[in-house]
Amino acid sequence: MTITKSDSSDTSRLERPSNKPTAALDFGMAWDYAPAPEAPDHVRIDPKYGLFIGGRWVTPRSGKFFPTISPSTEQVLAEVAEANAQDVDDAVKAAREAYDKYWSKMRGADRAKYIFRIARAIQEKARELAIVESMNGGKPIKESRDVDVPLAAAHFFYHAGWADKLDYAFQGRRYRSLGVAGQIIPWNFPLLMAAWKLAPALACGNTVVLKPAETTPLTALLLAKIIEEAELPPGVVNIVTGAGETGFALVNHPDVNKIAFTGSTGVGKKIQRAIAGTTKRLTLELGGKAANVVFADAPIDQAVDGIVNGIYFNQGHVCCAGSRLLVEESVHDVIVRKLRDRMATLRLGDPLDKNTDVGAINSKAQLARIQELVAAGEAEGCERYSAPCKLPEKGFWFAPTFFTGASMSSRVAREEIFGPVLTIMTFRTPDEAVEKANNTMYGLSAGVWTDKGAKIFYMATKLKAGVIWGNTFNKFDPTSPFGGYKESGFGREGGRQGLSAYVEVE
């Protein structure tokens, strides 16, 4: 089995070769579907968004706005306020006042009802939120519609119920809310990450200043509208948009009691360093380089689908993506062949098209990062294969890609690419698989594929990662704690364990 090597002169824009089959399953045009775009006419995006502070929409003191675009078309969707340190200060003051006046004094049962309202409103506006999420972030509508938005609603619904049951969560131990939480979220799951952060913080009785990612602020602003319509007391949730500087103004604000950050390990370390010497509490959900371990006795076809889901879901913009595939040597060739066959069926294109499997790369900067690392992989002698899909002219795109022949020291095997790029390596014994899987500074997630139950548990025990998927991958649920080992961060989100991030337990 030879692997088609891509044309190195044009690394990202591959044409599908019509005359020569690139995979065993070549049905010519049979995989081409008629366009089925989700109609965006129902959606209303304001031309300009201010900051949501103290229950009101305010113009930023900075006076500055920045455009937010669709990464699939590069069209400007709206102008968004850029909050400076003064704006952040206003937001923290509003949050403090809301904490002192309302939220810390309210019965848990009543806090719960406000949070339930948010969950319900997300369900009511699910279609609008999904479309805006796909427009602003580039992810396929089937993912925002079926994963991001329903899970966001589920997170609020789940945590609402905890608000009056915290006595049960920390049985026999005294606890108290923390105060004002500053939360900084990434661009890969904009609405869902807002839900992961806000829901437990509010349930535990804290008030919040939330900063959405620079490139994907729109669904967080729609969520602010939902919170406004749900009539939460003013200042309980404040949303300030901006870039890194806005985030650091929040991190460094002296009246913030808690910082919760999801993003890169590099920024996470800066935040941890920045709050040294303060009493601020911190939880970090950072990068990953998850091993997806496939044994020879695995259900191979299921595993191949799991591999595809593991790395190409959301264009690989997933901190827990299964970006290192470790396959038992004896099944390496068959898995690589089946993977290529499966990848030939992936449809890349318009995120709003209901048939799209792979959407746009979130930003130009991220595309450049992916291209740089892929070039490094080629330069290091790894063999590259990219799915034969036609890339649109406008926007930021990268074809699903994998490398074979990589060594453990290759950059593509060590660094988080955060794109649709898989690195395939082999192993011979379970212990070698464990050794290789754990040989990373990260420890967010891992996958194991085998039909042998005892082997699943052996691997699940040995792998140093916060989430282990056995014969599945990339599953999330509000009842299931999520978070990393080692440099993938600390603290958990979801489940009873996740509540600890937002209370002080004695």
Binding site: R173, G466, V467, W469, G470, T472, T479, S480, F490
Partner: protein, 336 residues
């Protein structure tokens, strides 16, 4: 500056030498602290103990060859010499101890919770049989007899508390999670790895026991820096550990200066967490900042009052174990 001082001192010496004749000792010599008792000539000469750090199950001096001195409390002249030399640990000592702890971790983590519980209980047994020695050491460090006895009792009881917790915290922290789909999903606590402990100065024994025990109960291994005030007692306690069934490297105890060594704990990449009880706010901040290099789980504390450590509600509990545990969540499909 120095030469000037010397000149002045020698001038004074000369003046004094001239005025008194004959001088009992040369001026500038230190006074004899304890005159030699001639009657001692018939008594047995005591064997003095060389106090060493406890690393990888062995008693070692600092690789640096450095030491610092600890004095007995005034009335305690009988046992040790008045002044003993204690190793002043170095950065390399920290690294050696971390290596030992890291290598010991895989074996310690793999043991059953029941077995870990029994080993820790064995430590309590050894401490009980060495009560007089531990008590005497604390008295030499300045405690009254009653205080020392109470501290040793509390320390032994604390070890028993955690020994019995080794196979129970799991059930209290684990969960089965009802995910909305055809999956079996559970979360379990797991140890983190090697944890650095900077123990409080006081209480010398109970503070050390209270900070180390929860960490090893959870399945981690420890490199601890004993408090500077009475490091001898930490070494006496190490002898309890050495004669219990605790595997080598699970608990390593260094002596030295917190100001010098704390940031070496914080910077070491194989140390995954730090529990530091440090008075100096700047030092606490430095430990927190340096710990960010590898996203360490850094817990710093202003040391509690010495009395607070005897309060079970304040100084022991599930939370103490939980601090250095990860949560691992496992998913598996349910189906035919």
């Amino acid at each position: 500056m120095e030469p000037k001082t010397k000149t002045r001192a020698s001038a004074a010496d000369t003046a004094e030498r001239e005025s008194s004749a004959p001088p009992p000792t040369r001026t500038g010599d230190a006074p004899i602290m304890k005159p030699y008792d001639a009657a001692k000539i018939d008594t047995r000469v005591r064997v003095n103990k060389a106090y060493k750090m406890f690393v990888n199950g062995a008693f070692v001096r600092s690789e640096s060859g450095r030491y610092f001195q600890v004095k007995n409390a005034p009335e305690q002249e009988d046992a040790d010499p008045e002044t003993v030399n204690v190793p002043r640990g170095s950065r390399k000592d920290v690294r050696d101890a971390v290596l030992a702890a890291k290598n010991a971790w895989h074996g310690w983590e793999k043991r059953t919770a029941y077995n870990r519980g029994q080993i820790l209980y064995r430590l309590a047994e050894v401490m009980e049989s060495r009560r007089p020695e531990l008590t005497q050491s604390l008295v030499r460090g300045g405690q009254t007899d009653a205080q020392a006895a109470a501290e040793v009792d509390a320390s032994i009881d604390r070890v028993v508390f955690y020994a019995g917790f080794a196979d129970k915290f799991f059930a209290l922290l684990a969960s089965s999670n009802p995910v909305a789909g055809p999956h079996f999903n559970f979360s379990v606590p797991e140890p983190m790895g090697t944890i650095g402990v900077v123990a409080p100065d006081r209480p010398a024994l109970l503070g050390l026991v209270s900070t180390i025990l929860p960490v090893v109960t959870g399945g981690n291994t420890v490199v601890a820096l004993a408090g500077e005030r009475d490091p001898r007692t930490a070494i006496v306690w190490s002898e309890c550990i050495a004669t219990s069934d605790t595997p080598a490297g699970v608990i390593n105890i260094l002596t030295g200066h917190a100001k010098e060594l704390s940031t070496h704990f914080a910077k070491h990449r194989e140390v995954i967490g730090i529990d530091a009880w440090i008075v100096d706010a700047d030092l606490r901040k430095a430990v927190e900042a340096d710990g960010a290099d590898n996203v360490k789980r850094v817990k710093t504390h202003v040391p509690m009052d010495p009395e607070a450590w005897t309060d079970d509600r304040k100084a022991q509990g599930l939370g103490w174990i939980e601090r250095f545990l990860e949560t691992k969540t496992v998913w598996h499909p349910v189906g035919l």
